[in-house]
Amino acid sequence: MTAETLTATRVRPLDRFPLGPRHLITPAAVCVALLALYAWVSTLELDSIEQRSLNSSVLLAKTVEHLEMALAATALVVVIAIPLGVLASRARNRVAATVILTLGNLGQAVPSIGLLVLCTFIMGVGFRTALVGLVAYAVLPVLRNTMVGVQQVDPALIEAARGMGMTRGQVLRRVELKLAVPTILAGLRTALVLTVGVATLGAFVAAGGYGELIINGLKLNRVPVTVVGGVLTACIAFLLDWLGGLAEDLLKPRGM
């Protein structure tokens, strides 16, 4: 099975910048979608309610809010989940690892909107609440991937590194973490896409973002506003997923 997967993965050319035509599909599709959206909206006669949402300053502000929410949450997730994942992967923390895995599986079942609203009861509405909800939601996948990534490193390699006279810290930094990079990055990419999606729900707790367009459009019965919000959210999710994919390809250790 392993040998098969190894040969099945595409053989990358060894150039420094592995950017093929495959990598350009997503941005091209996003551009087309945005242009189509712009063309469609500009054919409409917007009434005053729609104009109040669909102008460049509001859209820009919503974009900034949305990105701020998603990126801040992802950054916090990195700071929290990766060290914890490494800690949990140490041999003496077996119990913690099992607990984290079980919590991770159960936590997936907690609906994001429920989590956000429950956070509101504790901290009130606003950006900070949305941030806490997002982080709580995205921490588990990254934590789990970090743990699994570090644990699956071949023990023989660690043994070899120890034999070469590396200290435990050096083994962790130079061998284990390096080899776990692809798994950790995959987890981060998932977390990024998750947070961009859940950040639309941030609007329910008055944290702004594209969700506000979607919700306002629905409440005021203005379909264009909702559609613009929805398409922009989808586009930004695709773009961030694409960037995550690029980062995975570029940051992968050379030997793998």
Binding site: M1, N105, L106, Q108, A109, V110, P111, S112, I113, G114, L115, V117, L118, T120, F121, V125, V193, V196, G197, V198, T200, L201, F204, V205, Y210, G211, I214, I215, G217, L218, V223, T226, V227, G229, G230, V231, T233, A234, A237, F238, D241
Partner: protein, 217 residues
């Protein structure tokens, strides 16, 4: 009113919402299983179809659920139809991927042996390939179910069925009596549904795994 009192006094509403939640998830998963396993069976022969179906399903999963649900309103309206459609397409990726992995990961010698015994392609698929790939396919269905149960909560915003309604009720009456209880009832109810579905799937897995595969190393 304590949480316990709230649940007992609103038991009719909550149990109906929970039943609808589970029903919506069950229908969507059934549809996604038929479509996903079908796509997987067609796709595992040709790499191109396989890559395209997986890429399409992955792209759908990237679209945030609130965005997809609201974008569906002009097409399928508010309520059940949009909910079911969105849940079904979200459930596809794990099912397709696991079907393809399960079918193409089979021991070539086993398939060859079946062929040598004179099985037609269809019988080979039904008697050999699908049963052997079944545990992996079932895992895909299980992962999809867990994911879709959470997404179904958001469907309440587009007037869909389910326990999400309790959560949104709590949100819209933030600070008033019972708002916390409603939110808790919705959230915990969904977790309970997720656990029950998971138990159901482990029972199904136990009952339907071919006997030859049941021996664990």
């Amino acid at each position: 009113m304590s949480f316990g009192e709230y649940v007992t006094s609103r038991w009719d509403t909550i149990s109906l919402a929970a039943a609808e939640h589970a029903l919506a998830v069950a229908i969507a998963i059934a549809l996604a299983t038929v479509i996903g396993v079908g796509a997987g069976i067609i796709g595992h022969h040709s790499p191109r179809v396989r890559e395209m179906s997986i890429a399409a399903a992955a792209a759908i999963l990237t679209v945030p659920s609130l965005a997809l649900l609201t974008l569906l309103i002009p097409l399928t309206g508010l309520g059940w139809k949009s909910t079911l459609l969105a849940l079904t397409v979200y459930a596809l990726l794990p099912i397709i991927r696991n079907t393809v992995t399960g079918l193409s990961g089979l021991d070539a010698a086993t398939v060859e042996a079946g062929r040598g015994m004179g099985l037609t392609r269809a019988r080979l698929l039904l008697k050999v390939q699908l049963p052997l790939a079944w545990p992996l396919i079932l895992t895909g269905i299980r992962v999809s179910t867990q994911m879709v149960i959470g997404i179904a909560a958001i469907a309440a915003f587009v007037d869909g069925p389910g326990l999400g309604n309790q959560i949104f009720e709590g949100l819209s009456r933030l600070g008033s009596v019972n708002s916390l209880n409603a939110t808790l009832a919705g959230t915990l109810g969904i977790v309970v549904i997720a656990v029950l579905f998971d138990l159901f799937f482990s029972a199904v897995r136990h009952l339907t795994t071919p006997r030859g595969l049941r021996v664990r190393p």
